[in-house]
């Protein structure tokens, strides 16, 4: 209950911030952080809580994005329905990937590679079939209005991503306080022991990947409605998969606030990098990569772990 209270305070604070922030630059920053936090929390549900490292979350993200875009452009279906359909389609893709991988007992690196391959297959498919606009991409016509899930002012997009992120964080909180979550974490920490206690590995992992996929799909829906343009590289490219895993790994895997911490830290880092190097291509991603190496080598619990360590040191440093 304590973590739920903290969560409520954090999101309430994030929610009132735009009332004081007038500049679009700041609002854009908030949107970027919440968007990254949503992507990261989606990955964290499967990777952090479930211990299954996906290298292909773009498969779910891109499916959500393309679903809402294609439904609008090709079939004239309202994006609110597209939002639900996008999340559902992403969940379905996740269920398919999960059913195949977990049914055949893929773990560790093998699971990572298979998810990556699925994302690549989807990227190539979306590059080849006509209804996605193939390599040219797909453009959603500009038509601002809440009923079209498009907003003339940034604050509309802020509230959209705020609500999506809140849903993902509530889901992650629920994992820490439910039977499903306990089972997911038990499988992560010791699959044999969990099965001996009656935990169905296949069913629980499937639940985990679907949940994860749905939130990734939501992030895709947001992306499509925010930028109104998609192409195969943007939707299914490796950059999304990398960002999805980088955020929670930097912030702290398997923790509720890790993805938010990671998203904020990465955003600050990229802003600082831009100040120093300008918009030179590559440099900020190179620093992301270096950070990933550094965190895995020295901070396996991410920034959240850093807090824990220093707290422990403080306690120890006190004279007995």
């Amino acid at each position: 209950m304590k973590t739920l209270a903290i969560l409520a305070v954090v999101f309430a604070a994030l929610g009132v911030l735009p009332l004081f922030v007038v500049s679009d630059v700041w609002l854009n920053s908030l949107i970027a952080v919440l968007y990254a936090a949503l992507l990261g929390q989606a990955w964290n549900i499967l990777g952090g809580y479930g211990g299954q490292f996906s290298f292909g979350h773009a498969a779910f993200f891109g499916t959500g994005a393309y679903t809402v875009a294609v439904l609008q452009v090709q079939y004239g279906i309202n994006p609110w329905i597209g939002l639900v359909a996008g999340a559902a389609a992403a969940g379905l893709v996740a269920a398919f990937v999960g059913a195949l991988s977990f049914r055949y007992g893929l773990r560790g690196s093998y699971f990572a590679l298979v998810t990556l391959a699925f994302a690549e297959v989807l990227r190539i498919l979306s590059n080849s079939v006509p209804f996605t606009g193939a390599g040219v991409g797909i453009l959603i016509p500009l038509d601002p209005g809440a009923e079209n899930l498009q907003f003339a002012h940034k604050s509309g997009y802020f509230w959209m991503i705020w609500a999506m992120a809140l849903a993902a964080f509530l889901a992650a909180w629920w994992l820490g306080h439910s039977r499903f979550g306990a089972r997911l974490m038990a499988l992560r920490d010791n699959e044999d022991a969990a099965r001996a206690l009656g935990v169905s590995a296949l069913r629980i992992k499937l639940g985990g990947i679907v949940m994860s996929g749905v939130f990734s799909g939501l992030a895709g829906v947001f992306y499509a409605q925010h930028y109104l343009y998609l192409d195969p590289g943007l939707a299914y490219g490796p950059a999304i998969s990398v960002e999805s895993l980088l955020v929670p790994i930097v912030g702290g895997m398997g923790t509720l606030f890790g993805p938010l911490l990671g998203a904020a830290a990465l955003h600050v880092l990229s802003e600082v990098t831009r100040d120093i190097f300008g918009d030179a291509p590559g440099i900020s991603l190179a620093i992301y990569g270096a950070l990933l190496i550094f965190i895995v080598m020295f901070l396996p619990h991410g920034l959240a772990g850093l807090g824990r360590i220093s707290a422990r040191r403080l306690i120890r440093a006190r004279p007995a």
């Binding site: 893929l106 990572a112 590679l113 990556l116 391959a117 297959v121 590559g282 990569g289 990933l292 895995v296």
Partner: protein, 290 residues
Amino acid sequence: MSEFSILLPSVLNGITTGALYALVALGLTLIYGVLHIINFAHGSLLMLALYGVYFLAAGFDIGPYQALVFMPAAMFAVGYVLQRFVIGKASHDRDENILLVTLGLSIVIENLALYFFRSDTRVVDTPWSFETVELLGAFLPLPKVIAFFGALATAAALWVLMTRTDLGKAIRAVAKERKGARLVGIDVDHVFAMSFGIGIACLGIAACLLMPSYYVTPQVGHGFVLIAFTIVVLGGMGSFVGALIGGLFIGVVESLGGLFLGESLGQIGIFAIFILILLFRPTGLLGHKV
């Protein structure tokens, strides 16, 4: 008969490309067989080697085949240092961590290349770049034929190294039983780094053979890395013969897939193979282990 005349050049072309894929996969499978890690940075290290070949040609007038004197040694050093001081220190006993660290390395290498070299496509022109060899009525580019034999020669050399030398014996001992190897006084960390270095040195050779018929951009490794993974799982993780046959096979699949389905969709065949093998035969279709 006319179908045959389209198919044959396509198959032969696939085989020559496949030999280069095999060479890239050989390094990957050696690293997997000994260290039991999946080197995600393999593609970007190949890209690095290709830039090495390019700059030797552009800056010092050293042709791609003369670069064979320098590149394997240089790439070996890169591989040795990476394994010894970065990858080897990061595992914390979880193989996912290795995957993450090598992913991080590939991001760093690729984006530094982007920063320093921009995304221009660079090629090395040689007088014989466009010469062809006629074989069974099909015309094959000369550089690809040379690359084919170069790949076979490298595989043979690697085989001799692994079976006939003390280093090869140590590597195989470590691959089989690392605790036991440590007990009999083998410096396991050194052998790991040597193996990684040799695997990366293969990329140095591959780059020299590839450059005359190919190009380099910071993203060029992408195309190779998943193909190399596919070959390695197809041939059986850690199997040399498997990597060789798998490489040739994938080269042909890609070539024929491109012929019938078009360049972009043709690649799906490769990924389909990759996914199916991972799901149903993770030990590969052929034998496994070094």
